[in-house]
Amino acid sequence: MSTHLTDVELEKFAEGRLRSDDLMRADDHLAQCAECRARGAALNDLFRSTDAVTSRLTSPGMHLSEEEIHLAASEQLEPSQRATLGRHLHDCATCSQQVDDLRGWSRRPVRRARPLAIAAAILIAALIPTVLWLAHPTRQNESASTAGLAQLSPSDQAPARASLEAGVGRLPDYMNDLTGSRETLMSPAPPTVDAFALVSPVATATADDRPTFQWRPLAGAESYVVTVFDERSNEVTRSAPVDHATWTPDRPLLRDRTYVWQVAARRNNRTIIAPVAPMPPAKFHVVDAHTADVLERVQSQRPEPHLLLGILDMNAGIVDDAIRQFEQVGPTDEGVDLARRSLDRLRLLRTP
C-alpha cells in the first residue's frame, strides 16, 4: 500500500484541488485504506454531505412559500395542503427548519419584566395552589396516562411530545393514501344486490404483520378467497377458499408497506368481487418493526397509559386502536382536550 494521505491531501481531494496524477494516486490509496477513508470522512464532514446529496438526488419538488411556513408553524394548514406539504417538510431540511424555528419561537412563553416585589408576591401567591395541584389526584392521572414516555428513546419521544405540545395527535404521511381510498369508498355508490363490504383492515395501519381480514358475509356465498397485493398490484398472498368471513394469513406480511386487498366470493358458480368499481381498493399499511416494538412495549405497561398509547397509535395511523385509547382517557386527565381533538379527527376518518 502507498503512503497514507495527509490531511491536506484529503481536503484537497474533496475540494477538487489535486492534480490529476495526485488524484489518481489518492483514489487508488483510498480504495485500499480504511484509515484514510475514515480520516477523509471526518475532515470533510461525510455525514452531512451524504445527507445533503441523498436529499438532492431525490429532492422534493416545490418548496414552501412564506405564507405556508407561517401556516405550517401555526398548525393552520388546510387538510388538502397538509399531506403534500407534510411530505415536503419530511424531506426538505431547509423548509422544515424554517417551520420548526418559527414554531418554537412563536410558542416560547413571553417574558415580561416585573418589579421584584410584584414577582415575589406572585410567587408566594402561586406556591399554595401549586402545592395543592401537585398533590391533586388529577396530577397523578396525568402522569399515569403518559407513563412510559420518558423511557422511550429520544427519537421515539419526539413525535409524541410534538403531539402533546400541539394539543392533538398527528397522522402519518401514508394515511393520505389510505384515507383517500376510504373517502372514496364512502361516496355514494350504486347499490347492487351482489355487493358486500370489506370491514377490516381498511384505511388504517396495523401493528400486526399477520392482520385478520374481515368482511361482511354475502348471502348464499359458498366460499371466499382473499388476495393481498402490494402497491404495484403484485400479488403478495392469497388464501385458500374459506367458508366464513374472516381470514388470517399464515405468513407475516413485509412491514413498512402499504397493501391492497380484495375478496372473491363464490356463489352459484359465479364469482363476486369486493370491493368493486366504482369503489376504490381497500388499503392498509403494516407499520415498521420498530414502531410495532415500541407500541408493544408501551401496551405491556399496567395500567395502560391511554393518552400515550392513543398518541402513538395515531402517529402510526392505527385508527381504531387510537380511537379506543383516546376514549379511555379520563375526564379529569389533563390530556382530555388532546384526546377529544384527536378523536374528532379520527372519527372523521370513520364517519361516512
Binding site: 481531494f13 477538487g16 484541488r17 489535486l18 490529476s20 496524477d21 488524484l23 489518481m24 483514489d27 487508488d28 483510498l30 480504495a31 485500499q32 485504506c33 480504511a34 484509515e35 477513508r37 477523509g40 470522512a41 470533510n44 464532514d45 461525510l46 455525514f47 452531512r48 454531505s49 451524504t50 445527507d51 445533503a52 446529496v53 441523498t54 438532492r56 438526488l57 431525490t58 429532492s59 422534493p60 416545490m62 418548496h63 412559500s65 412564506e66 405564507e67 411556513i69 407561517h70 408553524a73 401555526s74 411530505r87 419530511h90 431540511a93 431547509t94 423548509c95 427548519q97 424554517q98 424555528d101 418559527l102 419561537w105 412563536s106 416560547r108 413571553v110 413498512d256 415498521d288 420498530h290
Partner: protein
C-alpha cells in the same frame, strides 16, 4: 381546465412527440421566464457578503425547470390537477426555487423574516397586505394602501442597533411597532425586512440548513445506515442509461454548490475510477475533468451534443427513476434503509 399551451404536450401520441412538445414549452416559455425572474430576484437580494453569482442563477434556473418538468410529466400521466395557466404556474415554481435558494444561503435572515411576517399577521395593531405585485406592511388602519415610497426611504435610513433575531416575541413586537409608528405610511415588506435584518449575522460562508441541521454528527449506527443508503442509490445510478448518469452526476453538487462526487470513494461506495467507468469517460479524461466538476447544464449539453433543456430532461428522468426505485428520502428512511447492498468490491477495509 388545462392551459391550451399544454394540450399538445399532454395529448402527444408518443413519447418522442411529447419530448419535442416539452422542449418547445420549456425553451419558448419557461426558460426565458425563469431566467428573467431568477435574475431579478437574486439581483435584488444582495444583503451582505454572500451575493449571488451568475453560476448560482444557472443552478436556480436548472432546479426550477427540473421541478417544472417533473410536474409536467406527472400531468401527462394524469397525476395531479390540471394547470390552468402554464406561465403563471411556471412563475410560481421559479419563485419557489428562488425563495429556497435565498433561504438556503441566508437562513438566519429567513428566520427573522418569518418572525416579522408572523407578527405582522397576528398583532392586531399591524397588518400585511398586497398591493399590485408587492407585499406591504404597516399599521392595521393603513391596510389596502400602496407603498409610500417616501416613508419607505425614511425607514430605510433608520439604523438598527440590535440583532432582532435574538429578540423574544414581545420585544420584537415592540421593536416593529416602534419602527412602523416612526414611519409616515405603508412600507414594502422586503424593504422592512432589509432594515430589520441589518444586524443579523449568517454563519460562516454560505450556510445551508441541511448542513447546520446535523451539527452534532452521527452515531455509528446512523453513519452505517447512511452509507448503505448511499450504496443503494449508487447501485441504482449504475442502472440508469448513460446519458442520464452523465446529466445527473456531472452536475451533482452539495448545498454550497461544490462538487460532491468525492464522497463516493470516501464513504467506501465507489472509487473515482468506478465513477469514470459508470460515466463511460476514460479515467485519464475524468481525472482531468475533476477540477471542473460540477459542470453546469450548458457544459454537459456540449459534452452530450444536445440542448440544455434536454440535459434537464435527462436529469428529471434520472431522478424520477431513483425516486421510484429508492423511494422518497427522509431522515427516517435514510436511517432505516432496508436493503443491505454490497459495497464496491474494489474497496478494502471498513470506514
Amino acid at each position: 381546465m388545462l392551459d391550451p399551451l399544454l394540450v399538445r404536450f399532454v395529448e402527444a401520441p408518443d413519447l418522442a412527440c411529447a419530448e419535442q412538445e416539452l422542449q418547445d414549452l420549456v425553451e419558448q416559455h419557461a426558460l426565458p421566464l425563469a431566467e428573467a425572474i431568477v435574475a431579478r430576484k437574486l439581483r435584488a437580494f444582495t444583503p451582505g457578503a454572500a451575493a449571488f453569482e451568475p453560476r448560482d442563477q444557472h443552478d436556480v434556473v436548472g432546479d426550477a425547470l427540473t421541478t417544472l418538468v417533473e410536474r409536467l410529466w406527472r400531468l401527462r400521466e394524469g397525476d395531479g390537477d390540471p394547470i390552468v395557466n402554464f406561465e403563471s404556474y411556471a412563475a410560481t415554481v421559479v419563485r419557489s426555487a428562488c425563495a429556497h435558494e435565498i433561504r438556503r444561503r441566508h437562513p438566519q435572515r429567513a428566520r427573522l423574516k418569518n418572525r416579522l411576517r408572523y407578527i405582522f399577521s397576528t398583532d392586531r395593531r399591524l397588518a400585511l397586505w398586497t398591493s399590485g405585485d408587492e407585499v406591504v406592511c404597516g399599521r392595521a388602519e393603513w391596510r389596502g394602501r400602496p407603498i409610500d415610497r417616501a416613508a419607505e426611504q425614511a425607514v430605510g435610513r433608520r439604523s438598527i442597533e440590535e440583532d432582532w433575531l435574538s429578540m423574544e416575541r414581545d420585544r420584537l413586537t415592540r421593536a416593529i411597532v416602534d419602527l412602523v409608528d416612526g414611519s409616515a405610511g405603508p412600507i414594502g415588506f422586503e424593504a422592512f425586512v432589509a432594515v430589520a435584518a441589518a444586524r443579523v449575522v449568517e454563519p460562516r460562508g454560505v450556510a445551508d440548513a441541511s448542513f447546520m441541521a446535523s451539527a452534532r454528527g452521527p452515531d455509528q449506527e446512523q453513519a452505517i445506515d447512511q452509507r448503505r443508503f448511499l450504496a443503494q442509490i449508487w447501485e441504482e445510478v449504475g442502472r440508469l442509461p448513460v446519458r442520464q448518469r452523465i446529466a445527473l452526476l456531472l452536475n451533482l453538487r452539495d448545498p454550497r454548490g461544490s462538487g460532491i462526487l468525492w464522497l463516493l470513494p470516501i464513504a467506501g461506495v465507489a472509487t473515482l475510477r468506478e465513477v469514470a467507468r459508470v460515466l463511460e469517460i476514460p479515467p485519464g479524461e475524468f481525472f482531468e475533468l475533476w477540477r471542473d466538476i460540477p459542470l453546469d447544464d450548458a457544459a454537459i449539453a456540449a459534452r452530450l451534443g444536445c440542448t440544455r433543456q434536454q440535459v434537464i430532461n435527462l436529469r428529471v428522468s434520472a431522478r424520477k427513476r431513483l425516486l421510484n426505485r429508492v423511494g422518497r428520502v427522509s431522515n427516517d428512511a435514510r436511517n432505516r434503509a432496508g436493503n443491505l447492498l454490497p459495497f464496491s468490491t474494489s474497496l478494502k477495509g471498513d470506514v
